[in-house]
């Protein structure tokens, strides 16, 4: 039975359970809702949850786990003599999966019976042609080994599919029966539904956390692979970045890190004063009408896709800086430069700084301002000496968050900063960042088994650790600040 049918049947059963349990609970109380422990709808929801949730969980788990298990079994059954090394085995397995999928399609389409599919021999007819007749394309003519494996795959998958259908339907039916049995007037269905809601919420939180863990793990494994092929001291401390795909490349990250930090520094130099001053104006000086217009307008900046900022850097800011600053002053003649990327990224970061700072400044209690005005200080004295010091930890947090955005920013630097890995102090020279190099190492047709491609993961992990540290620091500072005023 196809999976979507199974899914629909379970859902239908759940809906049926809802009505049945509701009906039965009402009947158990003699039709009087007040005699019930919980609302009739709650009994219905409880039954629906018991029917649907376990069944769908099993279904989901099965769909995820079955291919993994199959892969393991089938791959183990391929004789070592047929493959030369691990890489070869994975190629054969890719073939096997393709043929098995072809067999599946053929049987499902009715062009082939299951028995025929299982008894096919590689030497008899050209399987590739046979499949092509049925409208199914297979890349190369399968060998006997891969055909055997594919047939094994096909056979186990068929069995697994039936088992899955039986177990899922069984789970749904069991849940249905149990919930219906418990749809009585003295059963606390509300508590059970509450627990289900709690479970749902915990599940959502867990998915978010587990995804982070998963991302980190995948980065860590690939990075470990990279460091097994390339010296970590070279990677972290070499100032030479020169990847060559024919081998013998130097992969020192320092020039990239330098570019990243230099551009971020300029971006913050632009974003922090402008953003902070804008925030002070909006929260301390602007009237409610100006604020209602100006705040959303500034936040529009945050909604511009970074690739659009990149275009702005590429076609407007870059040539402008080159023609009016870099060339006349003899700093160079490259339109993509640290300055270009830094300025544009700074503009992008303004709303981050201003919006967060604005919230934080607004959180400073009015009583502090009153106290300062009451002593005869002017507005700017109050802002400088009372409001800003009180808001400082939060503002520092906002700046750190903006910094971690700057470090991880990709599109603006791809288009604005250039691609030359170089360590120079001249801000009008093209440099490059960690993110740009991750993109360039992974674009194109590459397989992940050379240091030149794997270095991207090491770079990514380094970047991740840096931004994570900044975020943790920012959160720590912001949290300490919050405790002061609550």
């Amino acid at each position: 039975m196809p999976t979507h049918w199974l899914f629909l049947i379970v859902l239908a059963l759940g809906i049926a359970g809802w009505f049945a349990a509701r009906q039965k609970a009402l009947a158990s109380a003699g039709g009087s809702m007040r005699a019930l422990h919980s609302l009739p709808n709650t009994y219905g929801t409880n039954a629906a949850i018991w029917t649907i949730v376990p069944a769908l969980l099993i279904l989901g788990a099965w769909i995820v786990i079955q291919p993994v298990v199959l892969d393991h079994w089938v791959s183990g059954s391929i004789p070592d003599s047929a493959v030369t090394d691990a890489g070869d085995r994975s190629l054969v397995m890719a073939d096997v999966r393709r043929i098995a999928a072809g067999l599946n399609l053929a049987v499902a389409g009715g062009g082939l019976s299951a028995e025929e599919a299982l008894s096919m021999q590689a030497d008899a007819v050209s399987i590739r042609e046979r499949m092509a007749d049925l409208g199914i394309a297979i890349g190369t003519e399968p060998t006997q080994v891969s055909l055997d494996a594919a047939q094994k795959w096909f056979r186990i998958e068929r069995v697994g599919r039936i088992a899955m259908t039986v177990i899922v339907l069984g789970a749904a039916a069991t849940g249905f029966a149990l919930a219906l049995l418990r749809a009585r007037r003295d059963v606390n269905a509300r508590a059970s539904v509450e627990r289900a809601i709690l479970g749902l919420l915990i599940g959502a939180a867990l998915i978010a956390i587990l995804t982070t863990v998963g991302i980190v793990m995948s980065m860590v494994f690939e990075t470990a692979d990279f460091f097994s092929r390339y010296s970590w001291t070279e990677f972290f401390f070499s100032t030479d970045w020169d990847p060559r795909f024919q081998g013998g490349s130097s992969l020192g990250m320092l020039p990239l890190l330098w570019g990243t930090l230099y551009i971020s520094f300029i971006a913050l130099l632009v974003a922090v004063p402008i953003g902070l001053f804008a925030a002070i104006y909006l929260s301390e000086y602007a009237g409610p009408r100006v604020r209602a217009v100006a705040k959303p307008l500034i936040e529009v900046l945050a909604g511009i896709p970074t690739i659009v900022y990149g275009l702005f850097a590429l076609i407007t800011v870059g040539p402008f800086l080159r023609d009016y600053f870099a060339q006349p002053m003899g700093f160079g003649n490259s339109s993509s430069s640290v300055m270009t990327a830094g300025l544009v990224m700074g503009i992008m970061l303004i709303p981050f700084v201003s919006s967060l700072s604005d919230d934080i400044i607004n959180a400073v209690p009015q009583s502090l301002r009153d106290g300062s005005y009451g002593l005869g200080s002017t507005q700017s004295e109050t802002v400088r000496q009372v409001v800003l010091p009180a808001a400082l930890p939060g503002i520092v947090g906002a700046i750190l968050l903006a910094a971690s955005r700057a470090i991880g920013e990709t599109m603006i630097v791809v288009l604005g900063a250039g691609a030359a890995a170089r360590m120079s102090l001249n801000p009008f020279e093209a440099m490059t960042t960690v993110t740009v190099k991750i993109v360039s190492q992974l674009t194109g047709d590459t397989d992940f088994n050379s240091p030149e491609t794997l270095v991207a993961f090491a770079l990514g992990l380094t970047l991740f650790v840096m931004t994570l540290a900044l975020n943790v620091l920012a959160l720590y500072i912001v949290r300490r600040y919050r405790e002061q005023y609550e």
Binding site: D370, G374, L375, G376
Partner: protein, 265 residues
């Protein structure tokens, strides 16, 4: 009203410090203060009493133009301090507030050290030429605030780390450090325990030697203890104003009597 003014002249030898005539305050459409006339004397403690929402605090905040910081608030009528209209266009509210200090309901020390809290006003007004002068001003203010002995060894500790009563006395010291002529206190004891309250009350009693003190309070006992003059506000009207003893023992108005005997409020 007229009677009480005559009594004023009889019972005091002090000059009028603040003179308010026909004061109206509106919050948007809400008429918060209705036609208030009052004369507040120098070197006297004047208490404003009345039920919540009667306009005591609003009127108090008119006296140093703190209401300017509220957008929707409009003030009409004249308020003169030493014969000068404080709502005149030529008057800078910042200068005015230096002359008319204020202590708020909730202690609001700045997130700075104790020393910097007290030195804040003198610094922004350039009252000290050097560090030692500033030290003197701070010490004098803290002594006047009756808290010097408690904090003299930790002047660099944050002001926010003190107890509520200590914080409030720091705020009072902060207010007197700029040497104002009038001190406005908006329920200065409402956030304090009885011991801290009595410390603040003693302080108010001492402060009246040098300043004209106006205090808003919800506690009639406190008004009776610390003030020489009392004004009773009700629904935005100044109902009765006169000597504290008179107000509490022989109120002229029915509403005053009801309030002090606890029947309205």
């Amino acid at each position: 009203m007229k009677d009480s003014r005559i009594e004023e002249r009889d019972t005091t030898m002090n000059d009028t410090k603040i003179s308010a005539r026909g004061v109206q305050v509106y919050y948007a459409d809400n008429h918060a203060i209705k036609d208030v006339d009052v004369e507040i004397q120098d070197k006297t403690v004047t208490a404003f009493i009345g039920p919540s929402g009667c306009g005591k605090t609003t009127f108090l905040r008119c006296l140093n133009r703190m209401n300017d910081t509220i957008d929707i608030c409009r003030v009409k009528g004249t308020i003169e301090i030493d014969g000068e209209d404080i709502y005149d266009k030529r008057i800078d509210p910042v200068q005015l507030r230096r002359k008319v200090g204020m202590v708020f309901q909730k202690p609001n020390p700045f997130p700075k050290s104790i020393y910097d809290n007290v030195a804040y006003g003198p610094k922004i007004h350039g009252m000290a030429r050097n560090k030692s002068e500033l030290d003197e001003i701070v010490e004098k203010a803290l002594r006047r605030g009756a808290i010097w002995d408690e904090v003299k060894d930790r002047l660099n500790a944050p002001g926010t780390g003190l107890s509520g009563g200590q914080q409030q006395r720091i705020c009072i010291a902060r207010a007197v450090a700029t040497e104002p002529e009038i001190l406005l206190m908006d329920e200065p004891c409402s956030a304090l325990d009885p011991i801290a309250s009595s410390q603040v009350e003693e302080l108010i009693d001492e402060l009246k030697e040098n300043y004209s003190v106006v205090i808003v309070t919800h506690s009639m006992q406190q008004a009776a203890r610390v003030s020489q003059k009392t004004a009773f506000f009700h629904l935005g009207n100044l109902v009765e104003y006169g000597d504290t003893d008179e107000i509490f023992t022989n109120p002229q108005d029915k509403r005053t009597e009801s309030y002090i005997t606890g029947r309205i409020g």
